[in-house]
Symmetry: C2
Subunit: 515 residues, 2 copies
């Protein structure tokens, strides 16, 4: 058995059954192995950032890694931005980077580059496989490493793929999560019982139903506030789940939100800091003098810790849950508010939202809070161009569920090639392309950074209006059915149609920019 | 004066007057400075790989660096693939990577990453500016470093941009090229006079007119053969210039081409090696026992060395030059051969060819050898997605000349956003989009790597046919006039129209794949 086949079989045996791929010459034996191992699904992406973002979406929805197949250093480079987001989401991913044959590297052929430093930028685990007989064990180690919630990058030289002598390897079971100590629980219970203003700042695994329910029980028992991190990897929400607000993006709003609290308890979330720095503004968002504590993170049993804390506080078994409630259907002009209300009014049960709506999404949290339960996936690392790829991965992860991609226009143009993969795989993804013909967030940031209003050249750098992007034509160019909505009524009609019919749809929603 | 303004003014004073930009929040003060320094032209790209590839094209055509403006680590990551190509082309580029404010970095905000290792992957020079009062001197050093034929990356923290206390700096003049020693010239003259079969292997600066003429004089005087590297950054060719064949891409053809020679003299080119390794095939392409010599490279005066060698050999003043000659206009089916003849028949005088035609380009060298003189830019580093961005940069570098982008479909989809910048800047670029609905090169490589024919899943990984990409719609979605040619006659008609009318045109040429 050659190395490529042993590698693919090892992945499949470990439950890694999807490979998002953008292969080149050095990966041809891996590609051929796809036919030799029936259980592996190959999903072609026309650009590497689509493959890596899709693997992130898949991981967020399944908790398991997909593989991505990339072509040498430049292929990895093209996938790095979305791997950066995946790293911030702590998504398990097995990144396989094809490389020159081991004996070829010293010749510095044109595609030669330093793959390792690129990979380490985003990877918690890295290895370059050296021999066919090791490659399956290397892959097994990569899967085990990925399952800890990180990117594992395995470099696969062409001769390691094509040489015989390989055998399938088995992945060791992941270590169970570590229980949080009684000391920590006791200390935090004391704080929560003290009556001092306290907020539980929830991220990661704390934002899934069991964690949310336990956190809400703690809040109900103690009066503590709950806040979610600004950009969660996956937030379960909607009617019947505890309602948790996300910390605002803008630093001054976030600071105001956190101002009342004397204690911040971090639950699988880093301490909240400003996304960017601004002249004469602090980077840290908690109030001066606020004590910051940590309940659980990393290898800890986050959900178990929340439940144990709730029990210790004699919290009620059932906390307050969001009531079912939808906004009225909008009519008239298509504003970002009308867009949010249309989505809230029509959101299908069990939807998965891949959210890269940026400034056009400001009204979404409120408008969808009482909609049927759904998952909300966000831009965890700030590297734009993830909305459409996330939707690819989520749709492949959850074939029975409607995926809704909320995609700002400027961000869409980093990975538009995802539309082709959605069409090719006939994925059940409705994309609402929010077209405001501007980098609207930068218009806001221009003022907030103290750079001033900017002259005509600066304004041109933030405008997408010349020429206007036609996303209906763009989607159709990649085989995707598309329509345009210029009124709220149009949008309602198009959403109803798209939600009723499985398969790919793109609706270009022409909305005015916020500024 | 704040750091951003001093930086931009320093660049402009040093002749860096174009900035290909994809800015974000941390670059807002730089963007505002564009209005304060009238001589700086800002060119917006919707994706970073467009910006970096455009800077490469600009550098290849002017010999001077453009600036690129990128947004933190993920922005740089998106630009790396084309910076990889630029590094291989030894293009001078000043890459400015905006970063978090210096005091903000320790908070590990979502966009924080290790910019330095990413940058060093492609940069001959790297520095992170620390203070506003240093930034202009840092920029001056960056320009000086870039002028040595490399990428200089300057990291620009937001507070260095926005803080006052900066002053403009001056760039030190570049060191003159180093004359090649008499010893080297004498030794190589002896070899060339020996009558032993010898080939001059030309790259880099040796492929511009003065170098080509001197090399052809040496060939005329000694019977030595001339060969150009497979993927030159810029090859001047056409009627009235010495005709120099490029070494074939496929290793077995390259080996056969080099087999007759006992001496290979490298002139600003690395020793020829196989692009990829193949089982049981050598990586080195020169014949066993062939002696490899070096005339000039790096900091050497390459052109001066060729001229000095020609003089020492009493070479004729005027070597044989390519006669004017064009193929007949093709008619009938649109094949890759007909495409090549159409281009050869109609190529405008002084055209610049940005060539990423891949397998559809196999007949181009012969069909265009006697066309009016032109520049040919190729994919130097093998990182696909450079054709359209190169065309952007070449058109901005040379406003009076027609730029022709020969763009394969699969490669086009890595940086299609360049079409928008071409339309926005109304650049005189005619794109011939060669649409064969396949990664045709990989179909060839699948067999050549010994991976076999591949099963249905493998073949799907190499097919772009499901769904078909509609490049006319894609171009129009970004504001570019476009048409489709399905016969040779169509293509001739469309080329005539596009060549007669300045400004952007895209012609989708539907051609059958080679295999």
């Amino acid at each position: 058995m050659n190395g490529a086949r042993a590698l693919v079989q090892t992945l499949v045996d470990a439950g890694v059954t999807v490979c998002f791929a953008n292969p080149g010459t050095s990966e041809m034996h891996f590609v051929v192995a796809l036919d030799e191992v029936a259980e592996m699904r190959g999903v072609l992406a026309l650009f590497e950032g689509v493959a890596t973002g899709a693997a992130d979406g898949y991981a967020r929805m399944t908790g398991r890694p997909a593989a991505v197949l990339l072509h040498l250093g430049p292929g990895l480079a093209n996938g790095l931005a979305n791997l950066h987001n995946a790293r911030r989401a702590r998504s398990p991913i097995v990144a396989i980077v094809g490389d020159h044959a081991t004996h070829h590297k010293r010749f510095d052929a044109p595609l030669e580059s330093d793959i390792e430093t690129l990979a380490r930028n985003v990877s918690g685990w890295y290895r370059a496989s050296r021999r066919s007989r090791d490659v399956a064990a290397d892959a097994a180690d990569a899967v085990a490493a990925a399952l800890a919630g990180q990117i594992a990058t395995l470099v696969l030289p062409a001769d390691v793929s094509w040489s015989d002598g390989a055998a399938v390897a088995r992945v060791r079971p992941p270590a169970p999560p570590v229980p949080v100590s009684d000391d920590v629980l006791a200390q935090l219970a004391t704080i929560l019982r003290s009556g001092e203003p306290t907020v539980l700042f929830l991220g990661g695994r704390a934002l899934r139903e069991p964690g949310l329910v336990a956190a809400a029980r703690i809040a109900a028992a103690t009066g503590a506030a709950l806040l979610a991190e600004t950009f969660p990897a996956r937030l379960e929400r909607g009617a019947g789940l505890p309602a948790v607000e996300r910390l605002p993006y803008f630093a001054e709003q976030a600071t105001a939100k956190l101002a009342p609290y004397r204690h911040t308890i971090l639950v699988d979330a880093p301490e909240p800091v400003s996304f960017f720095a601004y002249p004469d503004k602090p980077s840290e968002l908690v109030a001066p003098g606020c004590a910051v504590h940590r309940l659980a993170a990393g290898a800890d049993d986050v959900t178990g810790a929340l439940i144990a804390l709730a029990e210790r506080l004699d919290a009620p078994a059932v906390p307050p849950l969001a009531p079912a409630s939808r906004p009225a259907l909008p009519t008239g002009p298509l504003t970002v508010d009308a867009f949010a209300r249309a989505l809230g009014a029509l959101l299908p049960d069990g939807a998965i939202i891949a959210d890269e709506a940026q400034t056009s999404g400001v009204f979404l949290p409120m408008a969808t809070a009482g909609a049927p339960r759904h998952d909300w996936l966000t831009l965890t690392g700030g590297a734009i161009g993830i909305g459409l790829p996330l939707a690819v991965g989520a749709a492949i992860a959850c074939p029975g569920r409607k995926v809704i991609c909320l995609q700002a226009d400027g961000s869409a143009m980093y990975t538009p090639q995802a539309l082709w993969t959605i069409a090719r795989e006939h994925l059940d993804v409705t994309t609402i392309l929010l077209s405001n013909s501007a980098y609207a967030i930068l218009r806001l940031e221009l003022q907030r950074t103290g750079a001033g209003a900017g002259g005509p050249k600066a304004r041109e750098m933030l405008s997408l209006a010349r020429p206007t992007l036609d996303f209906v034509a763009l989607a159709r160019s990649m085989g995707m059915p598309a329509s345009r909505a210029t009124t709220a009524d149009d949008l309602v009609t198009e959403l109803r149609r798209a939600f009723a019919e499985p398969g790919p749809h793109l609706i270009e929603a022409v909305v005015p920019p916020l500024v």
